[in-house]
Each structure stands twice: as structure tokens, then as C-alpha cells.
């Protein structure tokens, strides 16, 4: 498992024992992240892992990097501060559907809008785990939980849609236990400059077991999900015989070989195009009408806040006559008393 620089994922394991429930999807994600960092040749000290509060947010304790387990909902802001103050750091934000989308919703959309170079892993278990099982902003309508004993009456957010609505330039999705895909996706997220949002479909065995099962179940996964890769045709299914095409503005699932459909009719994924329409449609696909999209759905380059900040500082400093505190205080209306 050694990566570049001879890195090994174990070098990112801290000395703390991992406290998630046995069977929780978080364990697998932790492994994936450690693997990604090893494979990317990260140095431990250049990484800052910032989280809010929630089961998922205990993550930093298990990483042998710099870490900050902050307060509920504010991880994006703290991570933004870290990155802007020291753009050399690799900043990863760990957050849950409650942490990022309930109390932290505002910081989430503003961070995305500013396009601060942070890699956000959004653990979406559609529940508040740490507080023992209340519905979250991503819980399905009608979901029964401790605070919705008769079912919720709210539309859930779709994280991809919200991200793109906030001018998101990078959105991807993976499944907790799909180590390989997760590693692939997280690497792209890491390499993307700007805010990357990676939604992890995560299972909470205790309070919302199997919520993603309709699609993550081994048996059906290939038929009910599609892995999108830039430049590749949108083909899926156990037999690799299903695909997506556009009919007007509507996405359609087709079977290759039926109704005269050939491989060439299938849409080719363009993660890099600026236009959001198709990305949104892909991000919004829901089972049973569509396969759920995994992989990097959108990855577009844009201006990055922390870099622009550095550039603007350099620019102004190059032009200004004020180079020091002394210069400043002596500029403008000064008089002498002798």
C-alpha cells in the first residue's frame, strides 16, 4: 500500500482508538482517506483535518495530522480560515449531513461560492447520529425518527443540487464501503483547486441502517448506480448494457442493443463543462427512475479565493508606497509639534 515518497497509509493513523460503532460506514471512509493521503505523498504535517460535531466529525482524532474538532456546523468557516491564512496546507473538512446542511448550511454555501480550496467530505447518513437518531435535512420525506414519529413533512436537500446552486465547481459522490471508488474520487477532489464537495453515502447501523441499501446493496449496485468518469460513456448495469441518453432536455435510461440503440448513442460524460444543466440532472438522478450517479459529476476550474487573496495582496504590495507600519502612520495628514 505504499504510495509516492514511500508513504504508507498507516502513517496517517493516530494513536487514538476509533470510537465509531462496529459496522458504521465511517470506518471505511477513514481507511480511504488515509490511503489517498499516502498515495498522494502527503506529509503528515502539511495536512489539517477540520471537522464540526457529529459522529463523523470525530474523524480528525484518528488522523495523524494536524486536526481540529470544532463546533457544530462551523467546520467550513474554520477550514476557510485555516486555508486562507496558510494556503500551503492541505485542508480537508469532515462533516455530516446535520453538521454541513442543518446548522452549517450557510457556511457550506458561502464556502462553495467563494471557492476556497478545501476538500469537503460530507458523510450523508440521512440522520443525526451523535444525538441518537433525529431526522436530518437529507432524510427522505416521510422518514420516521425520534423527532418525526409520524413521518417528516419536509423535502430533503439534495446535496449536489444545493452545491451547484451555490455555484459549486466540484461535486462527486461515492459509497462508504466502495473503497476503490472512494479513493479515486477523493484523489480527484484533492487535486481539484477550489472547494470540492464529495458526498459519501454512509450507513449508520444504529439509527438509520440500510437507508442507502436500495442502491448500495451488492446485489443491485451495478444496476442501480452509475459511475461517471470524464470522457467515458455513461454506461452501467451488471451487463454494461444500460446507458443514458438525452431526449430534448430529458435524461433517459436505455438498453444498448434495444430499439436500435448502440454504444455511440450513449452520452459521454463531460465533468469539465461549465454549463450546469446536465451536471444537475446527473446529480439529481434517483432510484428507481434512474441509476444514482457516483464518481466525479462536476469538476470545473474557477478562480480560487485563497489564491486570489494572495494575488491581490502581492499586487497591492507591489504598487503601494506603504511598506511598513511606519510608512502608514506617516502618510496623510501629519503635523509636527516642536
Amino acid at each position: 500500500m505504499a504510495g509516492e515518497n514511500g508513504n504508507n497509509y498507516t502513517q496517517f493513523k493516530s494513536d487514538q482508538s476509533v470510537r465509531w460503532c462496529p459496522g458504521c460506514g465511517d470506518h471505511a471512509i477513514l481507511n480511504s482517506v488515509q490511503k489517498v493521503m499516502a498515495e498522494l505523498g502527503y506529509k503528515n504535517e502539511e495536512v489539517a483535518v477540520i471537522s464540526g460535531i457529529g459522529c463523523s466529525s470525530r474523524f480528525p482524532y484518528y488522523m495523524d495530522t494536524y486536526g481540529f474538532h470544532t463546533i457544530h456546523g462551523r467546520a467550513s468557516s474554520i477550514a476557510s480560515g485555516v486555508k486562507v491564512a496558510n494556503p500551503k496546507l492541505k485542508v480537508w473538512q469532515i462533516t455530516g449531513d446535520g453538521d454541513a446542511l442543518a446548522i452549517g448550511g450557510n457556511h457550506f454555501i458561502h464556502t462553495i461560492r467563494r471557492n476556497v480550496d478545501i476538500n469537503v467530505i460530507l458523510f450523508n447518513n440521512q440522520i443525526y447520529g451523535l444525538t441518537k437518531g433525529q431526522y436530518s435535512p437529507t432524510s427522505k420525506r416521510g422518514f420516521i425518527s425520534k423527532t418525526s414519529p409520524f413521518g417528516t413533512i419536509e423535502y430533503p436537500f439534495r446535496p449536489g443540487e444545493l452545491c451547484i446552486g451555490a455555484r459549486g465547481q466540484f461535486f462527486a459522490r461515492s459509497i462508504d464501503k466502495e473503497l476503490k471508488l472512494t479513493v479515486e474520487v477523493l484523489k480527484e477532489a484533492a487535486q481539484h483547486e477550489g472547494t470540492s464537495i464529495v458526498e459519501m453515502l454512509q450507513n449508520c447501523v444504529i439509527y438509520n441502517d440500510k437507508t442507502h441499501n436500495a442502491i448500495t446493496d451488492k446485489e443491485h449496485r451495478e444496476d442501480r448506480t452509475i459511475i461517471l468518469r470524464h470522457g467515458e460513456p455513461m454506461i452501467f448495469g451488471k451487463n454494461k448494457d444500460k446507458g443514458l441518453i438525452l431526449d430534448g432536455m430529458t435524461l433517459k435510461v436505455v438498453t444498448i442493443g434495444e430499439n436500435g440503440i448502440t454504444k455511440d448513442d450513449i452520452l459521454v460524460h463531460d465533468a469539465h463543462c461549465d454549463d450546469i444543466s446536465l451536471h444537475l440532472k446527473l446529480a439529481d438522478m434517483e432510484y428507481p427512475n434512474y441509476p444514482v450517479a457516483l464518481g466525479v459529476i462536476r469538476s470545473v476550474d474557477g478562480l480560487v479565493y485563497d489564491q486570489c487573496m494572495e494575488d491581490q495582496l502581492a499586487d497591492v504590495q507591489a504598487k503601494s508606497k506603504v511598506k511598513s507600519f511606519k510608512d502608514l502612520v506617516h502618510s496623510g495628514q501629519v503635523w509636527e509639534v516642536k
Partner: protein, 616 residues
């Protein structure tokens, strides 16, 4: 300049320029104060903006004022009552009538005192002077509008531009009244309108005509004579409290070698700190205009984690929002300065007014036992010093510091002797020693009790911190009961330790006073002036004024105890008095409180102290 009749010799004088928002009173006042400062007077100024951005013209709500207090000796407040009022319209007269010193001079633009404007200003008759009982004043009825028009009639300017120069006529006239040179103002005009020679010419002419008008009508206008003050040598500039605060942080940043980071969200009356630092990209300041106050402080906490000098600035309602995050900085033991420029009232309250009612919030506005350092500035220019020291304490003791300013300090100006950075003590961040083999995230300096700053990027010092209770040494999450008590105690102790690093409390005035005035923060100028006047009148009084609130200076108890009577004067219902009772319960305190959104007046302070002295 001819001989003057009716020259009034004065130690100090208060002038108030007042008119509609569009009349340019802020500029007029600023120019006058510069001229006085350069002339060698000590000065103190205060602008008084309308609460609305563009209140209806001609109404009292739309009056914009600028007060200048200048003197032969030091002045500490912009003055309670005006000796000279320039009233550009009836609303200005109406708004200021009750703020005039008996026997003062009122210069009014009689052209604007027509029926329509009188009515708009709320006068019921055509004789505002009678209505407001201003019979005993020197009234200078100057047709400023007509005279300005006259002055500029051959300049080929449009009517609007002509009217806009009215304030320069008034200023010229006031310069005559105080026998002041025009050169600074002329220079300013030349620079400001460098690209519009016609405007320069017009303004210079009007200014001079105003001055000459004074000379011509001197028979009826009293003039004032105020000698220069004895002022410490040096370079000076005018500074208000907000700019001073911003600059204090710049100084601390340069001195400590730490990059400066501000995360903030605009809010009256603190916004100017954010604006000033936003403009300081030349000095490398990183300013993050956040989406709200919470993101403001949280980005700063993030920056602090990485080793920046991290600041967040706000006013009362914003401080309320930051409470939870401040708790995080407390438990994470990260340096952070939270500036609260206090304003009036609970909730949105009176945003443009001043008050001292956030003291308890600063001390206690968070969950749990959550101690931090509280410091308060007490004059517009010492906002610079306390910003510097707040930063120094935050960094060196690894603790959040709340720095209290207020609307009065924020907007008031004083001349500021420009210091050398070398006059200030060093700031030495307790950055982790890379050779420290025993380092642990919560290992402490034995003296100060601070933990060490091991910033991301430092090899070998990777560690995790957070908001859960932490082990006394390792900083790992700990649910242990006794550890929690130990940590609760050490956090409090660390803050108390700061008392060893701050100056002792000074007593001003009579050491054997019968009454000790006690104050804190922005009321200093008024309390000190009251003290001086009372002393001059032969009363036995003293003043103890606090800038360090938590911890209190080490000698506080001894100082307070020494006096028979103590009266805590503050702009709230008695928060500092309560705090002193908590800290020094065996002493008795009387209170003098005012909650009107306004500073104390020296007069009311003196009256109150005298009434206490009589009881003695």
C-alpha cells in the same frame, strides 16, 4: 488683521458645526480641527450623524453635526456644551439649542430661516430664538447663502456648486472668530480639487470672503482667543477610535512577526475597523468579510490555529452571536482578539449611539465556565494601545481577549502623537520549541500557564484539538471527572495570571480624597475632566479608571479600599459595580448610571460627585 473688539480669552472652547446631511458639516469640522491642532491646541472631536442614511432634508432627524473641543491645555472630551454653534438651518438650531453654553455665540444662516424651514424643523413661531429661549446669546445672523452667491457670482458656476460652497464661507467666518490661519485649509482645497481649478478658485475665494466678512462685521461678532497648548514634541495626526484600534493590531502584527488576519461582518459602529484593515492589503493584512459574525470569528479561529494574529470585530448583537465560538477558543486555548464596539440598547437597540452595556456579556456570555481576558480602551487614541496590548496578551498567554470599545470612542478623534514601534514592548509568541522532547499539546509554560503554539506545517508536532474537554497534558478527549475540574481551574488561573503582566491601577487626583470616582473604558475623558475641575474647585476627589477588567489589576482592592466612599460611574445599569461587588464584596459602592445612548456630561458628573461630597 485689524484690532478686534470683544475678544473673549478662553482656556478652551467648544465649537459645533451643524447643518443638513448635505451641508458638508463633517468636512468643515474636520478642517477646523486640523487647523486648531496644527496651531498647537489640544483637540478632541466628535461627529454626530443622523440615524437614517438620508433623513428628510430640513428636519431635526436629518441634522449632521461635528463638534470640536480645543484648548490651551489638554482636553479629554469633545465637550458637553458648545461655546459657538454654526447653524446652517433651523433644524440645526433646534437640535442643538439645549446643548449650548449660556452666553455662547450662535452663527446662523438667516437665509434658511424662512417659514417653510422653520416649520420643518418643528418651530411653531417665526422666532426660533425666542422659542428656544436663546435671548442671552451672541447671535450672528449671517446671510450665508446670499453672501456665498454674491462671492461667486462671476465664477460661472452652476447654482448647486455655489450652494455647496456655503460651508467654506461659514468656515472662513469661524476662522476669523478664532483668529486662525487659512493656510492648512487652502492647501487641502488645492490638493483635493487639483483636477478642477475652477472649483479650487471658487472655494478659496469663498473661504477668504467668509474670513473677511468676520473682519467687517466685527463690531457685532465676539472673537475668542485660545493660546496653543503645551504638547509633547513629535509628529501628530488625528485618529478616531476605530482607526486607532485597527492600527494597534497592525503594530502588534509587525512587532510580533505574526501575519494579521481579520474575519468580520459589518455592523455599526464597528464596521470601520473592517474597512480600514480591508484597505491595508499594502501591509499584507488578510481580511475575510464573512457571511455573518459566526463565520467571522470562526475563520479567525482557523487562522489562529495556523499561527496568525487573529482578530474579529463586531458590536453587541454580533458579540452575542459569537459566544459559542468564543467558548471554542477558550477550550482550545488559542489566541484571538474579539473587538466589541459597544452600542446602545438591547437587541438592535440604538445602533448609532454609545453605551457600556456589554460588559457582563463580555465576561459571561458563553456556556460553561469559560474565562477569558477583558480589556477596555478609554480614549479614541488609546484604542491603539489597548489593541496592541490585547493582541500581546492573547498571543503570549494563548487566550481569547475581548477588547471593549464603544460608539463614542469609535467615532471621536484626538491628535495622536505618532509613536515609534520601539516604544512598545516586544510580543513573543509562545511558538513550540522544536527541540522540546517533552512537548505535549496541553503542556504549559510554568509561569504564564499558557500552552504552546504548534502550528500546522511544523513537522513532528501533529496533534488534534477540539471543543470536548481535554486531558490536562495530552489534550486528548477526556471524560474524567477530576481532570475536568483540574482543567476548569487551570483555565481560570491562566487568565488570572495575566494580572502579573499588566500595569497596576493608578489613582488620579487627591490621594486623601473623600470620594473616589471609579470608571472603566470610554468614560475616561469625562470622568477625568470632572476630576480636574473638581480638584480645581478645591474638592477632595480622586479617580480610579480601569482598562483591565478581567483580570483586574493586582492592586485594585488596595486602591479601592483606601477611600471612604466610592462611586462607580458607568453608561449602563451598574454592571461594573456588580462586578466589583463580586470581586471585592466587603467594600461598599455607590453607583452613578446613565443609559441614554449618550456620554456623561462633565456637568452632571460634577453635580453628582458634589452631592456625594456634601453627604460626607
Amino acid at each position: 488683521m485689524g484690532k478686534r473688539s470683544k475678544v473673549i480669552e478662553r482656556e478652551e472652547v467648544v465649537v459645533r458645526f451643524s447643518g443638513d446631511s448635505g451641508d458638508g458639516m463633517q468636512l468643515t469640522g474636520t478642517l477646523f480641527s486640523y487647523t486648531s491642532a496644527i496651531f498647537g491646541n489640544d483637540i478632541s472631536t466628535f461627529p454626530d450623524f443622523p440615524a437614517e442614511i438620508r433623513a428628510p432634508q430640513g428636519t431635526v432627524g436629518g441634522v449632521s453635526g461635528f463638534q470640536v473641543h480645543f484648548g490651551h491645555s489638554e482636553v479629554y472630551t469633545p465637550g458637553d456644551y458648545a461655546d459657538v454653534l454654526v447653524a446652517m438651518n433651523p433644524a440645526a438650531l433646534k437640535a442643538n439649542a439645549k446643548w449650548m453654553k449660556p452666553g455662547g455665540t450662535i452663527i446662523m444662516d438667516v437665509d434658511s430661516f424662512d417659514e417653510k424651514h422653520l416649520k420643518k424643523a418643528g418651530y411653531k413661531t417665526n422666532d426660533p430664538l425666542m422659542e428656544d429661549k436663546l435671548g442671552d446669546y451672541h447671535i450672528v445672523k449671517a446671510p450665508l447663502t446670499t453672501l456665498t452667491k454674491e462671492s461667486l457670482k462671476d465664477m460661472g458656476l452652476d447654482n448647486k456648486s455655489i450652494l455647496r460652497s456655503k460651508n467654506m464661507f461659514a468656515l472662513g467666518l469661524v476662522y476669523w472668530v478664532f483668529d486662525r490661519p487659512l493656510d492648512h485649509t487652502e492647501e487641502f482645497i488645492r490638493k483635493k480639487f487639483a483636477k478642477k481649478p475652477a472649483v479650487v478658485k471658487a472655494n478659496l475665494k469663498v473661504l477668504e470672503d467668509g474670513y473677511n466678512y468676520g473682519n467687517n462685521i466685527q463690531a457685532t461678532t465676539p472673537s475668542y482667543h485660545i493660546n496653543p497648548a503645551e504638547i509633547k514634541k513629535g509628529s501628530y495626526r488625528n485618529l478616531n477610535g476605530n482607526i486607532a484600534t485597527a492600527w494597534g493590531f497592525l503594530a502588534a502584527s509587525e512587532k510580533s512577526g505574526l501575519p494579521l488576519f481579520l474575519g468580520s461582518y459589518p455592523i455599526t459602529p464597528a464596521t470601520e475597523i473592517l474597512q480600514e484593515l480591508s484597505a491595508r492589503k499594502d501591509l499584507g493584512v488578510k481580511v475575510f468579510q464573512a457571511e455573518d459574525e459566526i463565520a467571522g470569528i470562526c475563520t479567525s479561529i482557523g487562522a489562529s490555529f495556523t499561527g496568525s494574529l487573529a482578530i474579529t470585530s463586531t458590536s453587541g448583537p454580533g458579540l452575542a452571536l459569537k459566544g459559542e465560538a468564543i467558548g471554542l477558543a477558550v477550550i482550545a486555548e488559542l489566541p484571538l482578539v474579539v473587538v466589541d464596539v459597544q452600542r446602545g440598547g438591547p437587541s438592535t437597540g440604538l445602533p448609532t449611539k454609545t453605551e457600556q452595556s456589554d460588559l457582563m456579556q463580555a465576561l459571561y456570555g458563553r456556556n460553561g465556565e469559560s474565562p477569558l481576558v477583558v480589556v477596555a480602551s478609554s480614549s479614541p487614541t488609546n484604542c491603539f494601545d489597548y489593541a496592541y496590548y490585547a493582541a500581546k496578551i492573547a498571543v503570549e498567554h494563548m487566550t481569547p481577549v475581548i477588547l471593549l470599545s464603544d460608539g463614542f470612542l469609535a467615532n471621536g478623534t484626538q491628535p495622536w502623537r505618532i509613536p515609534e514601534l520601539s516604544e512598545f514592548p516586544d510580543i513573543v509568541p509562545p511558538v513550540v520549541d522544536k527541540n522540546d522532547k517533552d512537548w505535549a499539546p496541553y503542556k504549559r509554560d510554568e509561569e504564564r500557564l499558557n500552552r504552546y503554539w504548534a502550528c500546522p506545517g511544523t513537522e513532528g508536532f501533529e496533534h488534534r484539538i477540539g471543543g470536548l474537554e481535554k486531558d490536562y497534558v495530552t489534550g486528548d478527549v477526556s471524560h474524567d471527572s477530576l481532570n475536568h475540574e483540574r482543567m476548569t481551574d487551570i483555565r481560570e488561573k491562566k487568565v488570572q495570571k495575566v494580572a502579573d503582566y499588566i500595569p497596576e491601577l493608578e489613582v488620579l487626583g487627591d490621594e486623601d480624597a473623600e470620594v473616589l470616582m471609579v470608571g472603566w473604558g470610554g468614560t475616561y475623558g469625562h470622568l477625568y475632566t470632572a476630576l480636574e475641575e473638581l480638584l480645581a474647585e478645591g474638592h477632595k476627589v480622586a479617580l480610579a479608571h480601569f482598562n483591565y477588567i478581567k483580570p483586574l489589576p493586582k492592586n485594585s482592592y488596595d486602591v479601592l479600599k483606601k477611600f471612604k466612599k466610592r462611586v462607580v460611574c458607568e453608561l449602563n445599569l451598574g454592571q461594573f459595580a456588580s462586578y466589583l461587588r463580586m470581586n471585592f464584596p466587603d467594600l461598599e459602592y455607590s453607583q452613578f448610571n446613565k443609559v441614554q445612548g449618550l456620554p456623561f456630561t462633565v456637568v452632571e458628573l460634577k453635580e453628582h460627585i458634589k452631592s456625594l461630597l456634601e453627604e460626607c
